[in-house]
């Protein structure tokens, strides 16, 4: 076991952390884009479109992320299409993130006073223009703290991708444990690295929240 010194373990974990970070960033970005599109549908005042989006949100919020990963990884394979762990993890996290962000942002849009919509309505602005020029700029301000806060969930969510074989921080931890039989050390380090990724985010979210509350 002398082959695996503390530094070897740590450096291998840190190398795998790159993939956790990449998956988090990519999933958060694509989830955000899909979430924004869904937000327009969610508050479109078109009955069936709102219901459809709501069902989408309910599904991804109401089922475990792990099941969603399995569905993408194994489910798609049933149709004869081989999906790499990376692609399955990216897709599942994108859908999952978009569902939560849509719901968070819908709350922010709802927080904008009705008079703002009415004023924009009265000025003959189209729905898209009302959203784009009047509602979203105001909702954006309120949305920043909870959105940054949610990014912590995405980082932690990527850990599940290890189960379908994606070599992220958690998977590297499992592999190192199998080789070293020092679970407490390995998983303590894994936890510490996750914490080092997440704590700055939640600290930043809290700070934004305070700034926003003072500005009001």
């Amino acid at each position: 076991m002398t082959d695996f010194s503390f530094w070897v373990i740590l450096s291998n974990l840190l190398l795998a952390t790159r993939w956790t970070i990449v998956l988090s960033l990519v999933a958060f970005a694509s989830g955000g884009i899909v979430g924004l599109a869904l937000l327009f549908a969610r508050v479109s005042r078109i009955g069936w479109l709102e219901r459809l989006t709501k069902a989408y949100v309910e599904f991804f919020q109401g089922t475990p992320l792990l099941m969603q990963l399995f569905l993408f990884f194994f489910g798609v394979a049933l149709f004869g299409v081989q999906v790499s762990p990376w692609l399955a993890a990216w897709l599942a996290l994108t859908f999952w993130t978009s569902a939560f962000l849509t719901e968070i942002w819908r709350g922010c849009v709802d927080a904008i006073p009705k008079g703002q919509w009415e004023a924009a309505d009265t000025l003959a602005m189209s729905y898209i223009d009302q959203m784009w020029y009047v509602i979203l700029p105001q909702a954006f301000r309120i949305a920043i703290p909870p959105t940054v806060g949610f990014s912590v969930q995405v980082v932690k969510g990527t850990a599940l991708a290890s189960i379908i074989g994606f070599v992220d921080l958690t998977k590297a931890g499992t592999m190192l444990n199998n080789a070293t039989f020092r679970p407490f050390l390995v998983y303590s380090l894994v936890a510490a690295i996750y914490f080092a990724l997440c704590f700055p985010l939640s600290w930043f979210a809290h700070r934004l929240e305070r700034t926003y509350n003072v500005a009001r």
Binding site: P113, G115, Q116, E118, A119, A120, D121, T122, L123, A124, M125, S126, D129, Y133, V134, P137, Q138, R141
Partner: protein
């Protein structure tokens, strides 16, 4: 030929009928003051004219546009009908000038320079040229309401609806807003005001509409109605508010 023609308008909220067959004809250039107790249906009536509220029966035509028929797309109607609200409803994230030029730019696709020119023209009209770069939160209530008027005027509407536009203001700020409205009336703008400012209704209005229990109880020239109300309800209402 009326600019705004309202015929037998009926509207219920659930089991409560708030408009029970309202008919009003409004000519171009008229200044119509709608008065009445709260709950008499005045604001609902006003909000039906630009489609912010739907109605159950009757018809409204504004400059030849059928309001009920344009329910799917009210934008043509709303280009012609401006509205000013009790709570101003300015866009807080935009400066005064940006508030005024937003609709000309986005709706009428005016070029930037043209939109800016419109904004400064309208802000000059309401006496706030020096506040163009201020945000709404930096202005007094009276100033905010004047910006809201400028914003509505920027679309060059044929009719301006004013929904209790001085009710949220401190008493000393009411007059600056009323003076702006009076100047618009002199310019020939067609105005429909729901108001509690009886003196203003009498002095500036060309037509008074007294709403009572969801109906037009009395209408006519303001000076005449205020001096000689023909119904006891108007007499009582005028008596309780004109001091």
């Amino acid at each position: 030929m009326s600019l705004v023609s309202i015929r037998d308008l009926r509207k219920s909220f659930g089991a409560v009928q708030v408009l029970k067959g309202v008919s009003i004809e409004i000519t171009r250039g008229a200044v119509v003051a709608i008065i009445g107790k709260s709950g008499s249906g005045k604001s609902t009536l006003l909000r039906c004219i630009n489609g912010l509220e739907t109605f159950d029966n009757g018809s409204i035509f504004v400059d030849g546009i059928d309001v009920a028929a344009s329910r799917k797309d009210l934008r043509d109607l709303r280009r012609n009908v401006g509205m000013v609200f009790q709570q101003f409803n300015l866009f807080p994230h935009l400066t005064t000038a940006q508030n005024v030029m937003l609709a000309p730019k986005v709706v009428n696709r005016e070029a930037d320079t043209r939109a800016k020119a419109i904004a400064s023209e309208m802000l000059a009209k309401v006496g706030l040229s020096d506040k163009a770069d201020n945000y709404p939160s930096q202005l007094s209530g009276g100033q905010q309401q004047r910006v809201a008027i400028a914003r509505a005027l920027a679309m060059r509407p044929n009719v301006l609806l004013c929904d209790e536009i001085t009710s949220a203001l401190d008493p000393e700020l009411v007059n600056e807003v009323l003076r702006v409205v009076e100047a618009l009336a002199k310019d020939g703008m067609t105005l429909i005001l729901v108001t509690h400012e009886m003196r203003f209704a009498r002095d500036v209005g060309t037509k008074l509409v007294f709403m009572h229990q969801g109906k037009v109880h009395e209408e006519g020239p303001p000076k005449q109605l205020f001096a000689n109300p023909t119904t006891p309800e108007l007499a009582q209402f005028v008596g309780s508010t004109m001091h």
